[in-house]
Symmetry: D3
Subunit: 296 residues, 6 copies
């Protein structure tokens, strides 16, 4: 597949998920790089950066894509020649997928230690990073149960419930509206993140900000599990993280005279987060941004 | 239909809704009364009270039923003879339905005045009393719009949306999880009540307590619309208002290894309520109980 | 002066202040009454009530006027004849002014007891009822000092400061913006009221709601001093207490391209009030309304 | 014993406990009454009232004493003659002790219903009313356990623990400082009251206000168990409930250069109380005062 | 002008404004430097540092001055000779003014992105940095309006209003006391800073802490716009940022017996700040200090 | 003494106190080092690290021990030979004790500046670091007084009171339950720390979390005084700081049927801390962790 074809797939949402989009973006850049004629280091880098901007623009709401590109460009800056840069780029792309998996595995290890024995863990929607923590905690011999919401309108909570049941982790499914009744009796709340801003606010599936409000009211620790590539450097420059609004028909078929609104995400305030579990350790939300400042 | 048959229908939930249950209960008592042989006032009343306890016990979680009975018995206490009592009882039963309608109409009038022009009103589930306020506000020429949740698992919010659309009141439907995003931009929250306790706490459809928490966080006034027959005197005696738990299959078909929990109601704290709109006026939640203390 | 002339003066704000307006209203009704021809009790009362509505409508935002009228009509309802009613009315009007003074004197006595020795009392704007409490506390031998805001835009705080200085009560004047810095070091906040709603919310000079917010944040008791004729029964019927917006030129002379907004009052939430000091005792804000329910 | 001797014992704290002091006060008044010569009703009542004031003044910080006297005088006001009043008084004094016991028994019944099965109940200090609720809940077959503080400096919590152990109610004793760690895991907090003010604030053993703050933070219901004779009408008139300061040596023997302070009570704010369990039912703190307004 | 004369002008407040004071301080140091005889690098630096301390002491409450000096000395530390250091110093002083302008321009760019289209922005007092953000947002084509307080006693808000009107940005002027009524309806609050402490607290014009409290209550984002030279490293060493108290006559002419207090600043707590907009990006208040730690 | 003997003493709690344990651990490592035969740098370091892990494991709940070891190993990493490393190690151990003293002295200097003249400082338990701040403030000529709790069950507050009295600092002793009554009237709260987590939460003597809650409620600044070696890097890896539970007999002799619970510590949330006073300056709790990230 050509670089342009990949970029198109990113644009049209054919490729989805933070990790997949970032990986595809790197592949596209690698393909572009192999086509660059200039043997001169400076010229090569100039052209590569212009292509990179093009790729990054294919999904402006995906920080993981931008971060992957920034990280690789940073690495290339130490290369002495165009040839060296090409080689390094190719190797980075090859190791990228494995690196992400390692990050998530590391988060699993760290996060699992925060689940006390006999705990009730409350979660919302479906997050691979959260699932890895729960899987690891089970593997480490922890006894605990999970309460998860159905997560309307797309019911990703059912996927969470099914996978947990398969892992033989006791799981209870509830409607989104019952969150407060069950958070009251849980020991901790654990959610994923779609993006993290420069002030430590977390963008996640609609309903997350309400769950954070309830966790604060009920004095339950709320942990966010997220690799550092979810941090969005654009927010430091003032840009607001865009909130996607999805079609109303996901909720209900057309009803005459009734408008249907369907925002997909909301924002959890930094001060309501007990800690962000990253591959670099558990840090306060106000701190996580500094972990990647070299990319900015 | 015989008194016993009615009582059975109340027990088996064949008869539903605060007003309908209370009316049926009174009818049953009336039927029982017509069968009482004693011409002696004291003897008649003794027998009637024992039948009344029996009827009230048919739906122990319905304060409107108990209150209707208490109210009628109070009226009878002023009667001079068994015959007089029988006549009064029959007449009370006849006028009961109309009385309730008058109460709700009165609440509509009062509540409509609290809806500011150009307001956005947020509501949850489906309440006839709330609908009457909105209908009346429209009738009074107020311009406003309504945001309502779908109210999982039974989606009563769709009924609300449909009826509002029919009245040509602009209405927006959202998933329950999006409540916080929309309460942020609304001007007031308006919900009904299934029961009100002696300390002013309001039992209502699951999700109401979360909506009240959000309204408090976002400093939006939260009004509860409820006739005083929703107040439960039993709670003054220490009894906790029971919270019904409904079958999990209302949420999702059986999933192997997944437990499904489905509580139908939760409790809005008195201090989160800006006012209760009753047929006797708008009063603080801490006050509403005194409105009916003569029934206790 | 004729009744109609008085009503006009009330309408045009020539007569001001809760007490003065109420007194003028009663005088107008008394004048109207003396002109009623009907000797028949029922006929007399019918006509009197219609005149009373007319007088009450002259200042729809003044609860003291409505309350005075309701109170007097209630008294007349016990009269046996038109002549008796006329006499009673005349006597009520005569004693009205003295009654109000007694109410305020009583509040002074009660409120003065709440001022601890060596206290710093924070106040805002100018309230005769508050002044009476402070005067009485001084008279009772209490040692205390007062901090008062200038209360822009009309600087009523300067009147408060001057009068306190005259009474030899130590007083400090500050800008409105400095309220938080000084409430931090005060022992209690004491303000008056323009109107009290059925849910115990208090309408008072702009800035009061901020002072109440600060008092809550700084955990300082906030007392409202107000006779029960400030309670507005209309609010129980759903009407919102109207907030007067005054001319911008009170703040600043015209500035090209700059809009000036000047709302005169704001609303102190019931839950931020430690107690309302009335002539009937100190009661929680949620309770004060029941003190006058017979008028409603 | 003569009336004056009783009054002296009240003054010197020889007689202690709300109930005992109230009973002794009534006995003194009864003795005084039997010495009144006047056969004339008015004269008798005048003299009796003056004696009553004298008795009430013997313990100005005990609302139960003042309330008992007010209540009895209210009863006498319906008597037609001096002789009738004397007889009624004697009978009231005889039945007083039993009345209090009935009140506490009633509170036990009502309060026991609020203890959920398998609950953990947190309490502080030692209150007979609280003990009656716990005793009754056990008697009613409820399974629950209690956590109680040692309650420095006089360690009344040890009495609570011992008595509960005797009733075979599982009980855990902790230091006062550990309250927050254990309230986190309890289901409700239940304390007694030394006095209740007109605004619903509760005066109780030092530490109670902190426990109420923690209960609010941890969203645990806090109930106060108190018969209505603990309500202090003086507070409605502006008087502050006095807080007793006890000798420092209760805490520690003299330490050179170290001042020891030992206040015995603090104040639980009305808004932190979920309900006050009285013999007349469970009501919001803001409401309880109206229960006795006829005494004021 | 001689170095000593500049230092005097700084001391006597003849030179004002963070930027102007810092620039004048650097100029004084440059003048001192040109007079240093020592050709030896070490000797030169020793003497320069002693002069720098002298200049910094001229305005101990101005962090921008201290920071400018620290920054320049840091740069000189890399110089190899006295001559090189002199040249570098001269060049730094020349570029300083431009650097500050660039910082503010950068903040304008970043901050403008945080102003949503159709927003209502609330501001207080007059801040050049805030004005640059608003100017830039207008320039970027954003449609928004501004509400500003008059900011007693010196009415700097009128300057803000006039300048905005000149830029054709719709602006509404209100009294300081009306802040809460208008923050309720705004979308964000944006203020400047006089100094920022090591714990992220912001010192700004009196009234700012109240505005921050209201923004928190009303859940409106509060941004502080400030270049990093406003951060005061002295606060890390324990020193408290001093709060200037200005003459009472700024508020009111002498009133007999009335004390007038006029503190010029108050402190906005770090946790009430949504983000600090610096030239290095938008960061949480708790983070901003680390941006300059190399200066400390 | 041999290395193994020291390790044993650490294990059996014969050696106590953060500083003493860390020092003993370093001594043990030094003794182990002198026994390592390998002259090869790599081999020496490998062996030394293995011994270090062994020593660190002797007290898994003491972050100061782990941090001291990490710090020294970091220093050795720059050594060129085994001999050089041995020498450096010996010198580090010699200077360690002095380093800690310098850290605490530095904290004293910084912290003393935060104590305003005429302040009332509230403290809990006994902390050497807090004592050094108070000693230094007195030495600097500050006038202030201290309120301290007795700190049940071991009454360390009496030691605090005695030492302060000896320094002629006015001190008041109270029971733990009276904390809220006295924090209300204090100007700041100052406590020590047993450990600090990666998210800025502070583990300290039981009761500290309640004091922090009260300080937040009463808006009093709460400072924690702690050298950076109290920060526990293990918490960044997910481990929870263990909370020691001590024997019940410290509270009360066995009481039949009564369980006694005695947790020794609780956790102060980062957001309730105004600043942590470290030897590197006063920083927000969310920041302190980054101060030692090089050790992690």
């Amino acid at each position: 597949m050509e670089a342009a074809a990949i970029v198109k797939k990113i644009k049209t949402l054919e490729i989805q998920g933070a990790k997949n989009v970032a990986l595809a973006g790197l592949k596209a850049i690698n393909l572009y790089a192999s086509g660059i004629k200039s043997n001169n280091r400076k010229g090569f880098m100039r052209e590569l950066k212009s292509k990179s901007l093009l790729v990054a623009a294919a999904r402006p709401t995906e920080p993981a894509l931008r971060n992957a590109i920034s990280f690789v460009l940073l690495r290339l800056s130490e290369c002495k020649s165009a040839a060296d840069a090409k080689k390094t780029l190719a190797s980075e792309v090859r190791s990228f997928s494995k690196n992400i998996e390692n990050m998530i595995k590391k988060i699993g290890e760290i996060g699992a230690r925060r689940i006390p024995d006999n705990a009730v863990v409350f979660t919302h929607c479906h997050s691979n990073t959260v699932m890895e923590i729960l899987r690891r905690a089970k593997y480490d011999g922890k006894k605990f149960e999970v309460v998860c919401t159905e997560t309307r309108p797309l019911n990703q909570g059912l996927t969470t419930a099914k996978q947990l049941a398969k892992m033989r982790i006791p799981v209870t499914l509830i409607v989104d509206s019952a969150a407060r009744a069950f958070i009251k009796k849980c020991d901790m709340v654990l959610i994923g993140a779609d993006a993290i801003t420069s002030t430590g606010d977390v963008v996640n599936k609609i309903g997350s900000s309400t769950i954070a409000l309830i966790a604060e009211e009920q004095r339950k620790p709320l942990y966010v599990a997220a690799a550092t590539h979810k941090i969005d450097p654009q927010t430091a420059k003032g840009f607001l993280e865009p909130i996607e609004e999805r079609p109303g028909k996901e909720i209900v078929k057309t009803m005459k005279g009734v408008k249907v609104r369907n925002p997909a995400f909301d924002v959890v305030h930094a001060r309501r987060i007990s800690g962000i579990i990253t591959e670099l350790g558990i840090v306060p939300a106000q701190q996580v941004y500094r972990l990647v400042e070299k990319l900015i």
